[in-house]
């Protein structure tokens, strides 16, 4: 055990990764935390937008359908980097315009908040399509039974459609989550100190680029592997009641 810790002492090969300065381990972990925070926040925002978008596209009136169509088409057509740059300057500007019109002072939005909103907005467009497909895969009779027993549209959506579509949606949702954790790296361009930005800084300062990019890569991979497990568990739960394709019962 001591030899392992020794590798992280100043002067050793991995000393630059030590948690205490001059090591960059602390900032890297902080960057990882920021990455996870932004990704989790954006995933919640994006999923909510996706649910609205999917139901809007399927069951909305003409206006709602048009808005949803423009949203998914535009957002999915433009490179995310450009969207992030546009929205990064647009969102604070709009917020401030509203504030000024209300006679309030300008505020500086924290990059974390802007990043969360922007990535969530982009994710919502992809999520809309994943969820729309999953909803369409719910057998019509399941929804009809809800209608036949006097459930309200909201009850049907919440108690029947959403739980049943989840099993169909989760593989796609897991994909989006994995993409999202990596898309947070794009926030480096707006100077948000997430994992990639931090490893850039560390590399720039110490010139040990390979070391820090590899360390960042390993951390991203850990996120993927662990969250992959979680999604697999969630999917198994969502598939309750469905006979396994491999047979053998519940």
């Amino acid at each position: 055990m001591n030899w392992l810790l020794g590798l992280f002492e100043p002067g050793h090969a991995l000393g630059l990764l030590a948690l205490d300065p001059p090591g960059w381990g602390g900032p890297l972990l902080e960057g990882l935390l920021h990455t996870l925070e932004v990704a989790a926040g954006a995933y919640i925002v994006g999923t909510l937008l996706g649910v609205l978008g999917a139901f809007g596209k399927l069951y909305g009136g003409p206006l709602v359908k048009d808005i949803a169509a423009i949203y998914t088409t535009a957002v999915r057509a433009i490179p995310e980097l450009i969207e992030i740059l546009i929205l990064y300057y647009l969102v604070p500007d709009m917020v401030n315009k509203v504030l000024l019109s209300l006679g309030r002072d300008r505020i500086d939005l924290p990059p974390m908040l802007v990043g969360t909103i922007v990535l969530g907005f982009v994710l919502g467009a992809y999520m809309t399509e994943v969820l729309r497909g999953a909803i369409l895969a719910v057998p019509h009779g399941q929804i009809e039974a809800g209608r036949a027993y006097g459930m309200t549209p909201l009850q049907i959506a919440w108690r029947i459609t959403l739980p049943q579509m989840l099993a169909n949606a989760l593989p796609g949702m897991a994909n989006l989550w994995l993409n999202l954790t990596k898309d947070t790296a794009l926030l480096a361009v707006i100077g948000f100190n997430e994992l990639t930005e931090t490893s850039l800084q560390a590399g720039g300062t110490t010139k040990a680029f390979m070391l820090f990019f590899t360390a960042a890569g390993v951390l991203y991979m850990l996120i993927s592997v662990l969250s992959g497990r979680l999604f697999a568990l969630a999917e198994r739960r969502a598939r309750r009641g469905q006979p396994s394709l491999r047979g053998g019962g519940v």
Binding site: E144, A148, G150, M151, Q164
Partner: protein, 271 residues
């Protein structure tokens, strides 16, 4: 079913004259329904009194399922009048219901049984049975569960309460679906070809449950292909042809002495 229920119910219902004094449970007047240019119902009228078993028979495309599905507005009629338990459904000029609330309220009192069961596949049998009572009718959960257990015993599925529908046979699923319909304590039950999706050897167990319900004096409207069964349990049989009521009457008359050539032809074909 339990013996107690059987004793409470009228023992012999077939062929007895229907007293005209009983209240109307379901009445349809001059119902029209079009799918685009295709007119499926061309003015169907029918009445089911409290305690009646009314069977709707007819060939494929005659409009019998559509008629049934218009009653709880799973299909929106194009025009006509629908009265459930004395309450007329408010419809706009184009046939769409004027009040979603009213439709939901009416649906909560009609127990629908589908051809393909439509049990909610992500819920166990017990969860299926208490879903509507607890979440729609706001019955306390413990009470709903106690009632559901009795119903499961009654349809012979006590051991299946915690099983998901996909792990049961079609006959078991349909019996569970009937129990789900009973769980809302419906004023009337609607059966949409309840045995058509079943393997032949499973039809009997489902018909047995329906037969018990009929004997108990439940109001039931049933679309069926089981002619022998319809003759046995019905108080009134309606033969639909091409979106119209071609002939109707008590089962003995309709099956034993059909007047219309089309009905004679139909009965010869189905056996």
């Amino acid at each position: 079913m339990t013996a107690a229920t059987a004793q409470d119910a009228p023992q012999e219902r077939n062929g007895t004259a229907r007293p005209g004094s009983r209240a109307e449970a379901i009445r349809i007047d001059n119902l029209h329904k079009s799918f685009g240019d295709l007119e499926v119902l061309k003015g169907v009228s029918l009445t089911a009194h409290e305690g009646d078993v009314v069977s709707i028979i007819g060939g494929s495309g005659s409009g019998k399922s559509t008629t049934l599905r218009c009653i709880n507005f799973l299909e929106t009629p194009t025009s006509g009048k629908i009265v459930i338990g004395g309450e007329e459904v408010q419809m706009r000029a184009d046939g769409t219901p004027a009040s979603r609330r009213q439709i939901e309220h009416i649906r909560q009192r009609l127990g629908m049984v589908f051809q393909s069961f439509n049990l909610w596949s992500h819920k166990t049998v017990m969860e299926n049975l208490i879903e509507v009572p607890v979440h729609v009718l706001k019955v306390p959960k413990a009470e709903a569960i106690a009632r559901a257990e009795k119903l499961l015993a009654r349809v012979g599925l006590s051991d299946k309460a915690d099983v998901y529908p996909a792990f049961m046979s079609g006959g078991q699923q349909q019996r569970a679906a009937i129990a789900r319909a009973l769980a809302i304590e419906p004023r009337a039950m609607l059966f949409d070809e309840p045995t058509s999706a079943l393997d032949p050897e499973l039809v009997g167990e489902v018909l047995g449950v329906i037969r018990d319900l009929a004997a108990e004096g439940r109001t039931m409207l049933m679309v069926t292909h089981e002619m022998k069964f319809a003759r046995e349990v019905s108080d009134h049989v309606i033969y639909l042809y091409n979106g119209r009521v071609e002939e109707e009457g008590p089962p003995e008359q309709l099956f034993g002495d059909p007047k219309s050539d089309r009905l004679k032809q139909f009965l010869r074909t189905v056996g």
